[in-house]
């Protein structure tokens, strides 16, 4: 029965990856842009939450009420200034520019904050857990993060399928020129999609800060971007539920790897991703070739 618990833990870990992945998945799906600064932006969100907690004495959970809109604004402005301009050049330029942003953010964090690692506190919830049967342990925090991932994905899904803005986002993603012919300013619509994606990054970064410690280089050393991207690709591009499946699969594989030795947690996940990339680049749920 012990392996059932491993899988449960893997699923819970997958919730965190899925939460990280939804913003990346949205921007990739709509603008065909991979934001290589995604992981570092999440770390910025964690620092922002830490600042709100210490300066404004806000409870961590409530800090996202400030950080989500703030990140949304940053996302919109960044899109309308730098990112749209780089996409106008080429997709490769967006890669170079977001990679540059990633490195700049990381070094700026190092400049402004010490290299010491920090964490966000949410009191007893961080360690409390309940048991299912005699073998399975479920942490309240882990469960909360998984639920947050499901809620964010469900919210995105509903937004995209039910609202006028969501419909316009899907239309622009399908055919930018045709959307212009219907009167839509695709740059504005892209900006809105970026705003939403950045809003989810604020949630993911805060969740990560609560889940474990972070420091200025966490974005690249803890491979946050890579895990997010892997969840997107494993699940299949363009499918938000696929992203959840991808995150969970990645979490489970890592947890199985960790059973071999703790050091192999990451290696197992990376090798699994490369395997998927080589064998099934369209992902588990995808049907088209997208790579």
């Amino acid at each position: 029965m012990i392996w059932v618990n491993d899988i449960v833990q893997g699923v819970l870990l997958g919730g965190l990856y899925a939460l990280f992945a939804c913003g990346l998945s949205l921007m990739f799906g709509v603008m065909k842009v991979i934001n290589l600064a995604h992981g570092d932006l999440a770390v910025v969100a964690a620092y922002l939450a830490a600042g709100l907690v210490t300066v404004l004495h806000m409870p961590t959970a409530l800090s996202i009420l400030v950080s989500i809109p703030l990140f949304a604004i940053i996302g919109y402005v960044l899109w309308r200034t730098v990112l749209q301009a780089s996409l106008n050049r080429s997709v490769l330029t967006t890669l170079l520019v977001t990679f540059g942003m990633s490195i700049v953010i990381e070094n700026a964090l190092q400049q402004f904050f010490s290299a010491n690692s920090r964490s966000l506190s949410i009191g007893a919830l961080a360690t409390d857990h309940f048991n299912v049967g005699s073998q399975i342990t479920v942490g309240y925090l882990d469960l909360a993060i998984l639920i947050a991932a499901v809620v964010v994905l469900l919210g995105l899904q509903l937004f995209l399928s039910r609202t006028r803005q969501g419909r316009l986002i899907r239309a622009v993603a399908d055919d930018r020129e045709a959307a212009q012919l219907a009167g839509a300013d695709y740059r504005h619509i892209f900006g809105i999609a970026a705003a939403i994606a950045f809003g989810t990054v604020a949630v993911a970064g805060t969740a990560y800060g609560v889940y474990t410690t972070f420091d200025p280089t966490t974005g690249t050393t803890q491979l946050l971007l890579l895990f997010a991207f892997e969840a997107v690709v494993i699940g299949g591009l363009g499918s938000l539920w696929g992203t959840l499946v991808g995150g969970i699969l990645l979490g489970v594989v890592q947890d199985i790897g960790a059973q071999i030795s703790t050091a192999d947690l990451l290696l197992a996940g990376q090798l699994f991703f490369l395997l998927v990339l080589v064998i099934r680049p369209q992902g588990i749920t995808g049907s088209r070739r997208t790579a």
Binding site: R167, A173, D175, A182
Partner: protein, 246 residues
């Protein structure tokens, strides 16, 4: 209304990179008129329509709608002023349903007679299949949705690029059959058609392009088949052009 023509294109030159696709083309379309552009493949007809809709930037020349210069406006702003294009190859939002395609078309609509339910009346099959994904429709059905998506924006000037592309003759006839109903709501139509007889049948005036240059313009009644053929293929021009019949 100024009393002048609705659309006035003056000395329009458009380049695609190094290639010059239009050479100082001028035309004017009156209110309520049906105006047809004809010409062989690559003559520049789509380029002209795209330039009027704002998708292709002209190198020189001007475009005015009802006396207002729109040459510098972005395509989405031209929709607001009443220019709507049904692009070549339909270009539906393929992952959206029929109804969603129409809703997107209505997102930035001007006030006017056309609504989504009026489009459903125009194409009676459409209401029942509004939940279907656009990429599952047949070519003729897609063309109808593309027209509907343009109509719900309530255009003053409707640009139609090769409605008949890839469609069976019966389907083409049905599509063109709705033209009178559009005109009855006060829409002005500028259309591109490769099938010359079709163009002559529906348009009040035709305009022929050959390699980006105007070779003929006039009312169908005043044109002889020989003059049209000469303008279409450029028989007086350089030899070696394709001799296929329209």
């Amino acid at each position: 209304m100024t009393g002048g023509p609705l659309l006035e294109v003056r000395d329009l030159t458009v380049h695609h990179g190094q290639l010059r696709a239009l050479y100082e083309v001028s035309l004017s379309v009156g209110v309520g008129e049906t105006y047809a552009m004809i010409g062989a493949n690559g003559a520049g007809k789509s380029t002209l329509l795209r330039a009027i809709a704002g998708l292709d930037r002209p190198t020189s020349g001007s475009i005015t709608l009802d006396g207002v210069d729109v040459t510098k406006l972005r395509p989405e702003r031209r929709v607001a002023s009443g220019i709507v294009l049904v692009p070549e190859g339909r270009r539906l939002f393929s992952s959206l349903t029929v109804a969603e395609n129409l809703k997107v078309g209505a997102s930035y609509a001007r006030k006017g007679p056309w609504t989504i339910s009026r489009v459903y009346e125009l194409f009676d099959w459409m209401r029942d299949r509004r939940g279907q994904r656009a990429d599952q429709l047949s070519g003729g059905e897609q063309q109808a949705v593309a027209i509907g998506r343009a109509l719900v924006a309530n255009p003053r000037l409707l640009l139609l690029d090769e409605l008949s592309l890839g469609l069976a003759p019966a389907v083409v006839r049905r599509i063109y059959g709705i033209l009178p109903e559009l005109l009855a709501t006060g829409v002005t139509v500028l259309l591109v058609e490769q099938d010359v007889s079709q163009a002559l049948a529906v348009a009040a005036r035709v305009h022929c392009l050959l390699e980006g240059r105007t070779t003929l313009e006039g009312e169908p009644a005043g044109l002889t088949p020989a003059s049209i053929e000469a303008a279409y293929f450029g028989l007086a021009g350089p030899a070696g052009l394709p001799q296929e019949r329209p």
